[in-house]
Symmetry: C2
Subunit: 208 residues, 2 copies
DNA sequence: GGAGTCAGTGAACAACTGTTACCACAACTG
DNA sequence: CAGTTGTGGTAACAGTTGTTCACTGACTCC
């Protein structure tokens, strides 16, 4: 079933990935709109012109990075949102998963937080698209929950968006304290958990 | 009481403001980390070297822009948070005020949303500082509210931060639909209002 | 095994960048 | 009114940028 790539195509993918990795590294300390193509190729150790074999522009590379950073996140979203247990347990698990993801993929998270409102339109749109898909998945999961009985479709989507935004806010918070002492990180975990809980309480009493 | 400035100092302030305005304009379509000092001076019609008479670097200019964009916003925060009426009325007034502010100062709002997680550290820090001050003001106002009886200090700050983040999210939403048809903007207003309301409901039942 | 494909190279281009040192001249200060 | 201050201007610097063109040579396919 699995189609083994030719040597040529494999090498191309390798270079492409090296460009993506190098760019992601450089983007830790600047925004995409100031990332130069020469900067990236220099980092990889490849001629500037080679860049064009993989991307039309740095904006194009940015869109690919969005795919890499968010595309593979859908399973996790589903895990978070469809896990069992009571409300508090699920929230704690969700916050834990977010913290873990930030710890293992800090550059990806930083990139998304930065470019979500960044200076490159096509990348902004790619991120909004993915986030809208996340919100849709969350909404589908919410619909299945008995708590959602009596909710309108609009309100379910409204809540789903609130959850998605809150997850991003939380991820960004964790990013800020990545190198901070354990105590500080515990504090952030607690704040994020309680904010989620408050939203959850609001949800429980929405139809009162 | 009012100290009239000399011709010289007045002219300097005028040039400085022109630089800030030009930069803000240019930043509608790029991030601060890619803003060149020559770009700004060219826009104003002044020699590149004149820039140094006002700012050490574009990052320095960015910090000044944060002051301009957020410094004058504290009165509005206080108006929103200490207005009278029942919960729903206050929320509707708040969302209205946010919408109005986005409509009158779109470039400022865009700048803050963009650079909050942007590539220039000093600017990020300046924004975080101001937002922390906002959260503190909101917390003070919340403390005075009878609904907050029995709340811990930590939880009040937690809620205040949630409110501040939500205001920014809402502002960013309004920014995205600034040029959209009235119907779309009404939809956004409704979503923002309901999200605020849900949070407010969660607040009412926090101590259950 | 021979022809063709194509990822990556190297050189050159015009245009741009931040920063320096020095100068002009209007506005302030005594 | 003489002398100082300081905003803004000019010219030049060494580097950088994106993009083009013609090229090499290892892999692919028939």
């Amino acid at each position: 079933m699995s189609h083994t790539l030719g040597i040529r195509q494999a090498q191309k993918l390798k270079t492409r990935q090296a460009l993506l990795d190098a760019a992601l590294g450089l983007l830790e300390e600047q925004s995409l709109s100031s990332l130069g193509l020469r900067e990236v190729t220099r980092e990889v150790g490849v001629a500037p012109t080679a860049f064009y074999r993989h991307f039309r522009s740095t904006a194009d590379l940015g869109v690919a990075l969005v795919e890499e950073a968010l595309g593979s996140l859908h399973p996790m979203i589903r895990t978070i949102v469809s896990s069992s247990g009571d409300s508090d347990q699920r929230i704690e698990r969700a916050v834990g998963l977010i913290a873990q993801h930030v710890a293992t993929h800090p550059a990806h998270v930083r990139f998304i937080a930065r470019e979500r409102h960044g200076g490159v339109q096509s990348v902004r749109e790619a991120i909004q698209d993915q986030l809208a898909r996340f919100a849709d998945e969350v909404k589908v999961a919410l619909t299945k929950d008995p708590v959602s009985a009596g909710w309108t479709d609009d309100d379910l989507l409204m809540l789903a968006n609130l959850y998605v935004d809150q997850m991003l806010m939380t991820a960004s918070l964790f990013l800020d304290v990545l190198e901070a002492p354990e105590e500080e990180r515990r504090r952030v975990t607690q704040v994020a958990t309680r904010q989620m809980r408050l939203i959850s309480i609001g949800r429980d009493h929405w139809l009162d």
